[in-house]
């Protein structure tokens, strides 16, 4: 068990509803709190609203009702607030979404220079440090198209980390990878978790959840069915729906 101290609430999600234009209810009266340094793993069947939850947190999707407060800033219609929140949340996507017209180094330096207004020198130092951390310092001047999926995803993590975010969102970060590359990406994520990064991970990797998560949320049809610590959650689930889901994937 990792013994780490969780801080106060950094994200408050209160009664959030989100219905897509096609009538699909992605989130329904969704409430939860995330504490500083907490690693939350969100699991659930596809279409249960896991990704929508992450995308609402950083404003990629607009919520219909309810309230999201990030570090004291409400995520409302105020553009400045939304921009502030986006800048403090790193996001890693299933499909990597690296910028294909830029080298690895340029990918990581871009936001530091444009958003954080770092000088090229500083941005480069930070980038090199991060690339070393994710283990691809030798691919600095490669283009994303020349990298394997696992390498691309590690660059994407480094790119998000370069903004020194307060929270990292992982949206099925390993789902598009070949099996032998999942490990290298999960290792980076585990390292981050142990370093005390606040993380919300949508994933199918239950091993990862068991190893590093502080809290597991099981979602279905836009609602939280059950939440608990990993130990409690996997060994002793309370809800029938959770038991069914776990029996299907374990």
């Amino acid at each position: 068990m990792n013994v780490k101290k969780l801080g106060d609430h950094i994200i408050t999600v209160d009664k959030v509803c989100k219905t897509f234009p096609n009538g699909v209810k992605a989130l329904c009266d969704f409430s939860t709190n995330i504490r500083r340094a907490e690693v939350v793993v969100v699991i659930g069947p596809s279409g249960s609203g896991k990704s929508t939850f992450l995308r609402c947190l950083n404003g990629l999707e607009e919520i219909d009702s309810g309230e999201i407060i990030f570090d004291g800033i409400p995520l409302d219609h105020d553009k400045k607030n939304r921009l502030k929140i986006r800048r403090e949340m790193g996001m890693v996507f299933q499909s990597f979404n690296l910028f294909p017209h830029m080298t690895v180094l340029e990918n990581i330096m871009l936001a530091q220079k444009l958003v954080r207004k770092s000088s090229t020198g500083v941005a480069k130092d930070v980038s090199m440090e991060l690339l070393e951390k994710v283990g691809i310092q030798d691919k600095v001047s490669a283009y994303p198209g020349q990298l394997s999926g696992g390498q691309q995803q590690r660059v994407a993590i480094a790119r998000a980390l370069a903004m020194k975010p307060k929270v990292m969102l992982f949206d099925e970060a390993t789902s598009a990878l070949d099996p032998e590359m999942i490990g290298e990406v999960l290792d980076v994520m585990k390292t981050l978790a142990r370093e005390g990064m606040t993380m919300i991970c949508v994933t199918h990797e239950l091993g990862f959840a068991q190893e590093v998560s502080d809290w597991v949320i099981f979602m279905d049809q836009g609602k939280i069915i059950e939440g608990g610590t990993a130990d409690h959650f996997f060994s002793n689930p309370q809800e029938e729906r959770t038991k069914l889901f776990l029996s299907q994937i374990l």
């Binding site: 950083n58 990629l60 800048r87 996507f93 990597f96 910028f99 294909p100 017209h101 936001a111």
Partner: protein
């Protein structure tokens, strides 16, 4: 991966038929048309020896050719600017920009170019440009200044009509470039917007650093194709007396009646402009299909 090509009997037969057809045309021109070839009198319209200045100067066709080149280069430049600006407006989140750009595109694409040329010439030229007094201003310039204007655009006395024709051409072709740019922007994967969004870039920064660079890489082939169209379409401004290649061709034809020679020369001159562009397009398309990131 090129397919091997074989010269089959069918190919041979078709080639022979084509050759016979060409011979027939030549025969008709020689016998049926009773045409007097006068290639020797054509050359003076390309270049002639000027006795006054004791040097070779360009003839009417070549000066027309230069005007076509000027129209094309400036036209490509301005049409690209118009097209990119209104292409971005077409994808804007602000409705007013979208409506304006859509109106522009739909108007230009649904009118015959000739109609646009006349409207724009008599309105833009007479009502907007002449009152600015560009001709008068150009004529007050020093001889060097006037020379520069002449080399870059047109003689000071013809400057206004040249600019009116140029703007008409650029606005007309810009509408097509708008659609190319819009399609290019929309073809960029949504993930690129989302990734740059979550890094905290503003919409301007997303466009400038992420979306447009990839768009331009992608739309180069259709864009170059549109540039070729622009070079060809520049011939329609002959109807408002811009003395470009086609205009000079018509003038000399009515003056000399050497119809076929003139248009063969004009054809070859247009091809010297457009064929290299076509080759560039082909290169671009090949390198794109090979998948350079």
């Amino acid at each position: 991966m090129k397919k091997k090509r074989y010269f089959t009997p069918t190919d041979l037969m078709l080639s022979v038929m084509f050759l016979l057809f060409c011979l027939f045309i030549a025969y008709r021109i020689k016998v049926g048309l009773n045409y007097n070839w006068a290639w020797d009198s054509i050359f003076q319209f390309l270049f002639r020896f000027d006795n006054e200045s004791n040097s070779w100067v360009s003839g009417l066709i070549m000066t027309g050719f230069y005007t076509t080149i000027r129209l094309s280069i400036w036209g490509i430049l301005f049409a690209t600017v118009f097209g990119v600006v209104s292409g971005i407006a077409r994808t804007s989140s602000i409705p007013l920009f979208r409506w304006l750009a859509t109106t522009y595109v739909e108007t230009m694409r649904n009118l015959p170019p000739l109609v646009i040329i006349f409207i724009a010439y008599f309105f833009v030229g007479d009502q907007l440009l002449y009152p600015l007094g560009i001709d008068d201003w150009a004529e007050t310039l020093s001889p060097t200044g006037q020379n520069i204007i002449t080399v870059l655009f047109a003689k000071p006395s013809q400057l206004t009509s040249f600019l009116a024709a140029l703007m008409t051409l650029a606005i007309f072709e810009g509408a097509y470039i708008t659609e190319i740019v819009r399609a290019g922007i929309e073809s960029i994967d949504r993930g690129q917007w989302e990734a740059s969004h979550s890094l905290g870039l503003t919409r301007y920064q997303q466009m400038r650093h992420i979306i447009l660079p990839q768009t331009f890489q992608r739309i180069m082939p259709p864009l170059a194709g549109q540039f070729i169209s622009l070079i060809k379409d520049s011939s329609i401004v002959s109807v408002i007396s811009i003395q470009e290649l086609c205009f000079q061709g018509i003038e000399i034809m009515t003056g000399t009646l050497h119809t076929i020679e003139i248009w063969i020369v004009v054809t070859l001159l247009y091809l010297t402009l457009t064929l290299p562009c076509s080759l560039v397009v082909e290169r671009l398309e090949n390198s794109m299909s090979r998948g350079v990131h």
